[in-house]
Structures are given as C-alpha cells and as structure tokens.
Symmetry: none
Subunit: 219 residues, 4 copies
DNA sequence: CATGAATGAGCTTTCATTCAT
DNA sequence: AATGAATGAAAGCTCATTCAT
C-alpha cells in the first residue's frame, strides 16, 4: 500500500505520470508475487496501488502488458545488480564468486522481484517465459564462458562428461534453486550461500571431503 | 429400446469406481500439465476423461482436491521410480549415480507428471507446494545423508563452507533445473545428463579441467 | 417476459435445450428491437428470457453470435412469409401485389422482427449487414426479374432511363420505407399500403392523376 | 520560456470559439459516420478534432448533445442544398427533378453527413430520430404538396388508392434507399439516378414498358 | 482558455459448482 | 450410477464524464 496510498474513497491527488507508473508497477509486483499471475486480480492491484483501474489500463495496458512490464523492470534490475557486482580482470572463480554474492544480495533485498521472476513468470504460458529465459540465457552464457575458457586452457574437448552449456545450465539452476530454498531458510547469510555453491562447483564433493576448501582471495 | 440397457444418447458404461478414478486422474494430469492449475478448466478435464463433471466431483472432490490427488499420485510414482533405481550397498557416489539416472528416466517417460509436479504445483499458492516440497525434502535428506556421511568420515564439522542440507538443496536444485532444461533440449541421452551432474558435483570444475573425470564403475 | 418466465430468484425448471433456445431467441429479438444492438445488454436479455446468462453463452454463444442467430431466424421467417404469399402463374403485377401484401402482413404481425432486421442489423458494423443485405438482394433480384421480363417484352434496351436493378432497388427501398413509416402510422390497413405502392409503381403519378387506377383482379 | 506564451508541450492555440466548434463538429461527424453513435468514442472524436475532451464538453455538451448538434448541422445543410436546387415557377415534375438532383449531389459530396443522418441517427433510440424525422417530414410534405396539387386538379378525392402523404412517404423512402444503394454502387452519375426515380414515379412501369419515357425539358 | 489526470459504473464473458432427472 | 441443465459470483476491460492545475 505504498505509504498509505490515498485514503480510500477520496479522489487521488494529481501526480505526474511517471510517479503513478511506479506506484502501479510496485503494487503489481507485490500482488503478482503473492498470488501468481492468474490469481492476481486487477482490482487488488489497483487498490494496492491506491489508483483506479482505468489508470492502470491507460498507463500500462491490459493485464498481460502489465505483467510484461513488471518482468522487464525486475529482470533489468536483477541484471544490473549482478553486473555491478562482478569485477573484471580477476580470475574466473573470483568473478563467479562476486556474481553469486551480488545475486543473493539482490534476492535478499528484493524477494518479491525474485518471486515474480522465478516462481511465476516461468510457469505462465505465453510470451512471459521468453523474457525470463532470455535473462537466464544470458546468465548461462556468462557462466559457460567462464567454464569453457577454463576447460579449453586445459585442452578439454567435446566429451560426454564436459559440456559448457549443460554444466552452466546446471550451475545456474543450482543457484536459482538455492535462492528459492533460501526464501524459506533465511537465517543463512548470503556470503555463506555463495560460499557453498563455490565449493560445490569448483571443488566438488570429493575434494571438499578431503578438507580441501575454496576461499575467496583478496577482493 | 427397453431391454437394450446401454442406450439413450451416449450414457457411459457403468464401470467400477477404480477405473473411473484412473480415467479422471489421467485426464487431469494431462490437462493440468498443459495449461497449469488455474487455466485448466474442469470442463476440459471432464471432456478429456470422457466423464461428466458431476462424476469428478463425486469421486475426487473439487478442483483443489483433484489437483492434490494428481500431485500425490505422481509424486508417489516418481519416488517409487527413483527408489527402485537406487542400489544399496554400493558406494555413495554410485548410489547418487543410479538415483540420478532413475530420475531422468522417469522424467523422460512421464513428462506430464514432471511438468505438473515441478512447473505447476510449486507456483500455485495453497497446500500444493507443501506436498511437493515434502517430496523434495525427502530427496534433499537422502542426498544430504550421503554427503554428510562422506563429510563426517573425514572429520568435517559445521563450517561455513560445508552444510549437508544446503549442499544437498543445491544439488537437488541443479538436478531439477537440468531436468527442466532437458524438456526443451531433449536430444541429450539421460546417461549423459546424469554424467554431467556427477562430474560437476563430485569433482567440481577444478578437477574437471585437470582432465580428472568421474566415471561409473561396475554397476 | 414470455408467459411470466420463471418467478425470479427460483432455480429454473429443467427444460429441453430446444425450448430454452427459443425462449432466449424470443427475448433477444425483443430486447434488440427495443434498444438496438449496442445498447441491449445481455443482462436484460437473460432477465427477459427468464434464464441465466451462462445458459445464453452456452447455447447461443457470445453477443455477436446471438444477434446473428436472431437475424437468421427472423430473415428466414420473413422470406418464408413472403414466398408463401406469392402465387406463381399469375401476371407479374399480381405477383408483386401478393408479395407486397404478404410483406406488410408480416411486418404488422412481427413488428419486432422487422425492427431488428431493418433498423438495427443494417447499422451495426460487422457481418450483420451482410446477412440482411443478402435477403434484401434476393428481394431486389426477384423484383428486377419481374421488371426486366416486362421491359424486354417490349424491346427496351439498356437505356439510362431503364435499369432493372436500379429500379428494383428503388422499389424495394420504397416498400421498406413505407413499412417503417407504417410503424408510426399504423391506422392504415395493409391492403391499402400495398395498393399505394402498386399504383405508384405500376402507373406512376401521371396516370394516377388522370384517374387511371390499378386494381387487383381475380385472386 | 516565460514570455513565449504558446509553449509547454502541445497546448493548442487559443482560437475563437466558433472555430473550435467547427473543428469538433467536423471530427464528430466523421467519427459518428464511421462507427455509429454507440461505438464512436469521445476519445477518438477528441483526437480527431485535435482538441481535448473537456473542451468538447464545455462547448458542445455531453455525447448526446454533441450528436444532436451534428444532426442539426447536417440536416440543415441538406435542407439548404435541396432548397437551393429547386426552382419555383416551373411545373411540378421539374421541381421534383431538380430537388432530386440536388439531393443526390449533396449525398455524393457529403457522404459522411448522409451516413450519419440516414444510417445512424434513425436507429439510436432517444430524441435523435425525432430530429431526422422532422426533416424527413418536411421532405414528405413538400412532395405531398406537389402530388396533391396535381391530384386535386383532376378531382381525385380521398380514395384508398390515393393518399398524398402515403405516396410521398413512399417516394421519399425510395429516394433515400436509392441513395443508400448508391453509396455502394457509386459508378452511376447522379443525373441517371434522378432520372430513374422520375420515370418510376411519374410514369410507372406500365408506361415505361410502353416506351413512354419522362425527360427533363428546358432547365 | 485548455488539458492531463482521475474515476464510477457498467458491460461481456467465464468458471467452479450443484440440482433434478 | 450418471448426466444435461442451470447458476452465483467474479474477473477483465472500456467509456463517458469531471476535477485540479
């Protein structure tokens, strides 16, 4: 309900379009996150936003368009956050490390965004999955690049055991699932989460149980 | 017309209850898989099942109950399939290997079941996620046990870098995501899929790029 | 409200589909006639029919389909009535005479049908005008045939003053407009109406004012 | 920016009221002609006019009033055009002839006006039909006068076969319908159209097929 | 004068659910 | 046992209309 929105019943103050659009999108993300695309009702969104339904339709279009706008905004934010967190000119493992931390920080601070993107956008038929899968695709490509660059340095070819794309997909999936798991087990700090993944992925169980542990060096 | 018994329009044959229930559940799983919970309509389910709507309500209850029944049946099947695939009295890594292969075989042979369980049940608010998460929980526990048994053998305590539950969650998540990815990239055989995961998880990138590769021994 | 329809609020008696369809169509024609296509509301139609809205949608489809059904039924009735009224094997002028009388009798007895067909169906954009214009086209063709057969007997060619189609269109238009005018001046009997038109069309003002008058002979 | 006066976005030039009203009415007629009264939206009218909606309300009132204004203006124009075309002090048939030509010329040059008046105004319930029927009434009276003057000269009384009003209504209806038909068959010149009607009405089929043809004399 | 911002009210349509046969 | 017939309730969307600047 933003900051109390408008006292219900009264005609809303006149505000510039950009402000209203933000209010609406915020409300929409919240409602979509809570109920999912289908069960979310335009009525609830409009109430939450403190704005009448016609404004929503006039500014952001029908329900589908509104959802698309939400997805675009949130995936943009996520992408920015991760890219801002990654440092270039550091070894691949450190890049991964920083990316993961940024990702988990984002999820922690924007639970609703993540819920909409991961839990809801992917399951609704239609053009929505496409948007999110594009984002996911970028993540996978990024990781795949890291992996392959490592792999090719050592002369690994195209064996069954090694497929950059496949491994990257698995890694990204693991990160996503862990984020999901985190939503219901939020007492773990984000650094630890990233740390688990790094160890799992970089060293594997085998080395791990040997006491061999990956740790971030420098910054 | 009097003694013909089976006439009058298209009145369905009197069938034992168990058979009808199966027809209905099969249809429901198919329709839910295709449209998702909310967009699936009782009408379509009844048509697909070749059974009138009142029968559905009388046998399996309202839409929610019906969905719950679907989830229970399919998660039971998945669990059975995986448990049947696992061999006891083999080393932990081989247990994981067999479990993964059984899992992917199930997904390949029952795409609809998997779709309902993974894509749809988790995103609908309500008691459904609980059902599936229980299943997922059992999988995580199972994996965690393997991991922890390895870990404790080597004296690893509760350090930040090592949490059986967390790692298991990540692994299970990776396996699920890879299954999802597989639905749209089905040209990879299930053995290879399992192989990727094993290498990723057991050895990690680091060993992998050293040319060190995990391979199933014996059966 | 048909014959009191159902006492409002009570669940309607179970009736065979055909009966309900008729009720609905009757109500729809009445409501469309009164308000026109756009202003007619499905709510009013359903109330008038004594049937809930979902039945309308299930039996006759959406508003457009419903309107189409109305038009088809009514134009079919009009066509039948006129065709039943025309006698073959009588001179052309007598055919016209009988056709006109049948037409006006129909309009008198089915004011609503005529209103829907003439006043409303023609002005709504979409496929509706097509349906009615097809009917009108048949009427024009029929008249044109009469006219042309007369004309060609006398050796009239294609002069500017004589175009079967054009004249027939004018005649049909005159008949329609007179019907419309009649709706608001209903004290004239239908025979007289037809008589006016016959005189106007067959003899023209010129002969008329000479005292020359057309009159129906025999049957 | 302060003294620039005409700035800030797209704020329309301050224009005298009469000009604005014309802009609005022109747009309204165009939009009403295209979509009909109900489907025309105030939004589209305001966009077409290049004027904001509040101006429309302030200058010309609500939708109904606006439509009334349209009808008044256009029917006035039509009336003027026809009256200007008629010559006094010529025989009745020539008066009719000139009136018809003027009418068809107007329709040709103002298709939208005619569409609004004939196709739309008549079918909307409410006060609109009244406006147009008043116009039509004047046309009918005018024609009736011609007819009756002819008739009474010859001593025709009030017989069933002869009613000035009825005949005039039929004639006017025929002219209108022919105009409508013309909208979709515009390759016929207006003179020919008028010529058809004159022949039909003045001479009738009977004389026509005898080779007797009405032709305009002098101017 | 002129308008962007705002909404109440209403419409069509659909769906899960139940009754009567 | 089995179903066609029936509906309450709600959702998405649009429109004519007005207020505040």
């Amino acid at each position: 309900m933003a900051e109390d929105a408008q006292r219900s019943g009264e005609r809303a103050k006149r505000l510039p379009r950009a402000v209203r659009e933000k209010q609406i999108l915020d409300a929409a993300v919240a409602v979509f996150a809570q109920h999912g695309y289908h069960s979310a009702s335009m009525d609830e969104i409009s109430e939450t936003a403190g704005v009448s339904k016609p404004m929503i339709y006039s500014y952001l279009g029908a329900k589908e368009d509104l959802f698309t706008h939400c997805i675009r905004r949130e995936s943009g934010r996520l992408l920015e956050a991760v890219q801002a967190g990654i440092k270039v000119d550091v070894p691949p493992d450190m890049q991964l490390w920083h990316g993961l931390r940024a990702f988990y920080r984002f999820v922690a601070e924007h639970r609703e965004s993540w819920t909409v993107l991961h839990r809801h956008a992917l399951t609704v038929g239609g053009p929505f999955a496409g948007e999110v899968n594009a984002l996911r695709g970028r993540a996978i490509d990024l990781v795949a690049q890291l992996v392959v660059s490592q792999g090719s340095r050592k002369g690994l070819g195209e064996q069954a055991e090694f497929s950059g794309k496949g491994l990257a997909a698995a890694l990204v999936g693991a990160a996503e699932s862990l984020a999901d798991w985190w939503l219901d087990n939020s007492d773990v700090p984000d650094g630890v989460l990233a740390s688990w993944l790094m160890n799992l992925i970089w060293l594997g169980f085998n080395d791990l149980v040997e006491g061999d542990v990956w740790r971030p060096r420098e910054s």
